[in-house]
């Protein structure tokens, strides 16, 4: 198991918490993002995630390096699952350990925000009456984009 990885099986968050624990760590924050049944009044049946795996793992590791630079002493492990996920399944886990708790909270939240900015992973929502890739990939012909 790697500290920054894309996986296609169920995530056991405790493994990533264990990976960052050290004698000098007084605090560990563990964030898990779960598939939610209802979003803005629409019922999700399941989600499907796709990733550009080697680049996604590089970008996750980059986030870990950014955290070590911003919060010295903080150590990070991140995994994101791809494939089909059911309601309540864990899509992403972020574990951060730090001597002090403030950094562990801040760095963890930083990680999820960066994931949503730079890591090539895509989510498709499947509802009872349709499905859609999240992120307006085909919605604005001639509009935004490159």
């Amino acid at each position: 198991m790697k500290a920054f990885e894309i996986v296609s099986q169920a995530i056991d968050p405790q493994h990533y918490a264990d990976m960052v624990l050290r004698p000098e760590a007084g605090a560990v924050t563990l964030f898990t993002g779960h598939v939610r049944e209802w979003t803005k009044g629409v019922r999700t049946l399941y989600l499907s995630y796709e990733a550009y795996i080697p680049m996604a793992e590089k970008k996750l590791a980059q986030i870990g390096a950014e955290i070590e630079e911003r919060w010295p002493g903080a150590k990070t492990a991140i995994a994101h699952r791809i494939g089909e996920l059911a309601i309540s399944d864990i899509a992403v886990v972020i574990a951060v350990s730090s001597p002090r708790r403030k950094a562990a909270y801040e760095a963890n939240e930083y990680a999820i925000e960066r994931i949503k900015e730079i890591v090539p992973i895509w989510k498709k929502e499947i509802w009872e009456d349709g499905e859609e890739w999240i992120g307006d990939q085909k919605k604005k012909p001639g509009g935004e984009g490159l």
Partner: protein, 77 residues
């Protein structure tokens, strides 16, 4: 030759996950134009192009053996 990947919604635009093209020596911007001619609408859905697993600039030059990828807006987490 370079290899080009298409992901998520873009793969549905192109109908393929990857292909090869003789674009060595061309810029990333020219790769975008080449793809836009072949797959109308692709640039509307691609927010960035990556080369060798790093986000690239429009003026970056493509070299033989490079792996490019059209990256739709990411939505992980």
């Amino acid at each position: 030759m370079i290899t080009i990947h298409y992901f998520a919604g873009l793969k549905e635009v192109t109908g393929i996950a990857q292909e090869q093209a003789d674009l060595s020596g061309r810029t990333v911007e020219e790769l975008g134009q080449w793809a836009a001619e072949k797959y109308p609408g692709i640039l509307a859905g691609a927010s960035r192009i990556a080369v060798n697993e790093e986000y690239a600039l429009p003026e970056d030059l493509l070299e033989n053996g490079d792996i490019a990828a059209f990256i739709p807006p990411v939505s992980g987490g």
